[in-house]
Amino acid sequence: MGNFKLPRLLLAGLIFFIIVMILSPDMTGALNGYFMVIIERSLIFVILAISLNLINGITGQFSLGHMGFAAVGAYVSGTFTSIWFKLNPHTLSHYPVFMICIVIGGLGAAVVGFLIGFPSLRLKGDYLAIVTLGFGEIIRTILNNIDYVGGPRGLLGIPMFSKFPIIMLFAFLTVVILRNLVQSSHGRAMLSIRENELASELCGVDTVRYKVMGFVIGAFFAGIAGGLLAHLLTLAHPTQYGFLPSALVLIMVYAGGMGSLTGSVLAAFTLTFLTEGLRVGIDALPEFTIASQTYKIGTEWTMVIYAILLILIMLFKTEGIMGMRESRILIIEEKK
């Protein structure tokens, strides 16, 4: 004995999980339900941010429609669980079925990711940005017009299955899997594409294959996150998946540091809490009157503040919080 050490990442995950569980309303209740939801949202955004980081930061492509894949995951898994719940309302444990539905949602998003990525990643340059930007809008429009999933009303009545332990499990597995990917020969091939695509090709890397692979894996995890979000809010609505939410995830990746998984995790937590803080803060601002007109600053100003934040990051800390560095927790030790 004594030789056995719990891997650092597992340890960090467990500590976080136990602390939150102790503070949760079910136990000591130090955190109320509202706070729990913010933490759960943060974990979902962790999945979104690191999966986008795989596409934008690791493989060096530029995707603008990450929430589009989340929408696919949300609607696919939401439809499946709604049907299951209607057919079997009295089953004791829905959770295994729920988790399978989430993975199906992820696979749906991965298939869409392949259909989008395969043609556009064969070309070099900015085509992917244009295509994914368009894709994000197309998905929103399609969902607005399919009556089966509620059209503009959104998909309602999704059962509330996204409990903290399940979200935590998915977020943790996503971090582990992406960390393992980056520190394998496949991940190194992806990194080399970011560094220099031509040299990468001349090291024998099938660049198109690896770009598509990174993109599809990113889409898969976005689909997982979308499914979890839908089952947390008990609804999926087209406007949740438009350009602005995609931009928020993008800001997380840039703020955290392109290519740094640690940075994305930190930024996802910081910005999710900041969004809520700003929402509450701006709401609390008093109305003011100029020339007998009464004004109230609306919460839509959050995005203005984010835009300013992004500009400041670009000006003063171009590489984000972490740059390309990783926390030691996320590095698999190599003997030197």
Binding site: I177, N180, L181, S184, S185, H186, G187, R188, A189, L191, S192, R194, E195, N196, L198, A199, S200, E201, L202, C203, G204, V205, D206, T207, M213, G259, M324, E334, K336
Partner: protein, 233 residues
């Protein structure tokens, strides 16, 4: 000796400009072959045609008797042709050892899922790759910097790293595009020894482009001279 690389009637035009015109030559196996000529004479274009970055307008490229004309660059590399660049193309933000490991990646058999789960077979294979990368690093005298970011290395070391990266693909033919560019006389002398050592240790054929006549005359066993896309000697 049989021809490892055989160029047959190869021409390439950029629009109306003739960059390479009706080239025919053989590179025999096991030699150090030199290609010289003034700037703009089509040397680098020749390399780009062989490695598949451009597709020749006319003519064929045969490697080991197989027609590789117009294949994708990564296929040609996997088939056994590696190259370096005149203006370095190093993966700057990766460590020195990772630069080399990228070039070994296509020989790795572990599939995506084996890698994601870090199964024992994956770990074993990673260990082999690491050992081989370290050997190349030692040969290029880069062992002190193996885990540093490549962009922090001095210029001469980067040239050696590029050669190591090319060798890591386990090639039969190595194309060196002006390996001595920007090197001082001492470094150039060391490079000459290194090129011979590479040929002898790795049993590869070396095909190089160079302006540096001393290096060419010392190292190359056969030399071809071109100008304006035409063969002179």
């Amino acid at each position: 000796m049989s021809a490892l690389l055989s160029i047959q009637g190869m021409s390439h035009y950029f629009g109306g400009l003739k960059a390479v015109s009706n080239f025919t030559f053989d590179v025999p196996e096991g030699v150090i072959y030199g290609l010289i000529g003034p700037n703009g004479s089509g040397k680098t274009t020749t390399f780009n045609l062989i490695t598949g970055i451009y597709t020749p307008t006319e003519g064929k490229v045969l490697f080991e008797g197989r027609d590789i004309t117009g294949q994708k660059p990564f296929r040609i590399v996997q088939g056994g042709v590696a190259r370096t660049f005149q203006n370095l193309r190093i993966f700057g933000n990766l460590s020195v050892i990772d630069n080399i490991r990228v070039a070994r990646h296509f020989t790795v058999k572990s599939g995506l899922f084996t890698s994601l789960l870090r199964l024992p077979s994956f770990k074993q294979e990673e260990e082999v790759v690491r050992e081989e990368a370290m050997q190349l690093i030692k040969m290029m005298h880069l062992e002190d910097r193996a885990f540093d970011q490549a962009k922090n290395l001095p210029y001469g070391a980067l040239r050696r790293l590029e050669i190591a990266r090319a060798l890591a693909t386990k090639p039969k033919l190595v194309l060196l595009d002006e390996p001595a560019a920007g090197m001082n006389p001492k470094e150039t002398d060391d490079l000459m020894g290194l090129i011979r050592q590479v040929r002898d240790d790795f049993k590869v054929t070396v095909f190089l482009i160079e302006h540096h006549m001393k290096l060419v005359m010392n190292v190359c066993e056969r030399v071809k001279v071109i100008d304006f896309g035409e063969t002179i000697a």
